[in-house]
């Protein structure tokens, strides 16, 4: 087994004993959300500031069905993935018509549109109060209400999502998306219709966001209005950049840093986002590749230091 896989499996086993199981669960859910964003951000070079559109839409729709019709967990996840992909298809279709700043502003504006629908439509979404009372129905005798059971369930889905994303970025599609990021004009000239591939990246990213959205709703038993807000979209961009958008594992590390910081620091220091700001400034100024780059550079330095010591 590869080193990354081993570290990941070890973290999954150790994590719920280090932090509360709910936080451990949230870390892997947020990582799935980050994986979806990074297909756009890291691989295609598209900064989407509207990922919570797909996350929140999926959470509301699946949450509503769970609450009112008691559908089973897997069906809810399927619905979430579908809603995430479908909303990404609509939003993506509009956004890929433009590039650069206009693209970013479109993702943001459409996010706001979805946000205000959720805000106004109080009879369904609960508006500012959110949509509480989302159950985790038992399935085939598995009791998902047990925090550890749910943690294991989420971890397995996370590993599955990671495996899927790994296949996608190592497929021709992954390379074509990177080619579009590197040089869109040339990618068109050699025969790829860039908007269509960007849209495909959107839909896949949306499906991942949708999966994360439903898992999130079931974790906390509520769909907070915040889950479809631009702040949430910003959080996942933040986390991914801190982790490192140039690598498949960057968003996972980013999710760990972000959730762990926010959950552990917010308890005793209300101004904890300051820390996040500092972390972000350090990343932007010194480690453009995020924690992943910092780690590899540290490894190289250590290697040099060791070899110079051996010589001496």
């Amino acid at each position: 087994m590869k080193k990354e896989t081993l570290i990941l499996l070890a973290s999954i086993i150790v994590l719920p004993f280090v932090v509360r199981p709910a936080i451990a669960t949230e870390i892997w859910i947020f990582a799935v959300f980050g994986l979806g964003l990074n297909l756009l951000l890291g691989y295609t070079g598209l900064l989407s500031f509207g990922q919570s559109t797909f996350f929140g839409s999926a959470a509301y729709v699946a949450g509503w069905l769970l609450k009112n019709y008691g559908i089973n967990v897997f069906f809810a996840l399927g619905i979430g993935v579908g809603v995430g992909a479908l909303s990404a298809l609509v939003v993506g279709y509009l956004c890929v018509q433009r590039s650069g700043l206009y693209f970013i502003m479109l993702t943001f504006a459409l996010n706001q549109l979805f946000y205000f629908i959720a805000y106004q439509w109080t009879t369904v979404t609960g508006g500012e109060d959110g949509m509480p009372g989302i159950p985790r129905p038992e399935f085939l005798g598995i009791d998902f209400t047990n925090p550890m059971t749910y943690y294991v369930f989420v971890s397995i889905l996370f590993l599955l999502a990671l495996w899927l994303m790994k296949r996608i970025v190592e497929s021709p599609l992954g390379r074509i998306l990177q080619a579009i990021r590197e040089n869109e004009v040339r990618a068109e000239a050699v025969g790829y219709h860039a908007p269509r591939f960007k849209l495909l990246a959107f839909v896949i990213g949306g499906a991942f966001s949708g999966l994360a959205g439903v898992l999130y709703a079931m974790l906390f038993g509520i769909v907070p209005l915040e889950s479809i807000s631009f702040v949430f979209s910003g959080n996942v961009v933040f986390a991914t950049l801190i982790g490192g958008s140039g690598s498949l594992y960057g968003p996972i590390i980013g999710s760990f840093v972000f959730i762990w910081l926010s959950e552990s620091m917010s308890v005793f220091w209300a101004r904890w986002p300051l820390l996040l700001g500092v972390a972000f400034v350090i990343v932007v100024l010194f480690f453009r590749g995020g924690v992943v780059e910092a780690w590899t550079r540290l490894g190289q330095k250590f290697g040099q230091w060791r070899s110079s010591k051996q010589r001496a």
Binding site: P172, Q178, E188, A189, G191, Y192
Partner: protein
Amino acid sequence: MAILETKSLSKSFGALTAVKDVSLSIAAGSLHSIIGPNGAGKTTLFNLLTGTFAPTSGKIFFDQKEITGTPANRVAHLGLARSFQRTNVFPAFSLFDNVWVAAFATGRSWNGLLYRKVDAYPQAAERARAALADVGLDKKSHQLAREISHGEQRQLELAIALAAAPRVLLLDEPAAGLSPEETRNMVSLVRTLKGRYTIVLIEHKIDIIMSVSDRISVMHFGSLIAEGSPEEIQRNADVRRAYLGGIAA
């Protein structure tokens, strides 16, 4: 027989007419050069032929079929590949990945686009290797495009066009910015490609053109002012005036 033809092709950008009433016929298997002073409209003509811009008026035929207004990404699939005047590669990719992307685009099948490994397409890989070998970069296939010299990037530029296995190759100043020695290498490279592809070559260094071309068209201020064999063009009074006028202006 003509493989690529234009009929009264024009392109205006506002008040500026960059290409004016150009009717051109490229014979299959030939090396046809388009020369003219800077700003004569050569690159704009290429942009029209490859669908980067739609013409303001006129028609384009490829293999007897009209392709006017076909967007760039579909023109590539018809068998029309181009290289760019300004190096236009994928900087963070290895040389192999640069050409692989082009080879895969026009490859026979996109099956497994989302889940098969990139190395599971032997045909595309084979074509990519052949394209690099054709331009003499096969030994550097694992280097990154941004790390090689300008001269090598010009070769890579050509290899990306070749990897699409085109029927017609449109080369936009392949020797742009090259040293005299690199230019000689590029000319001999183009000569080896002659006969394997129909080639349309833009150049404004006349000495290069005269030695390799079967036929030459001369553009000046967006219009075609002469067409003929290299000898005929050399003797043509209008051509001399256009070039001298271009320098004097």
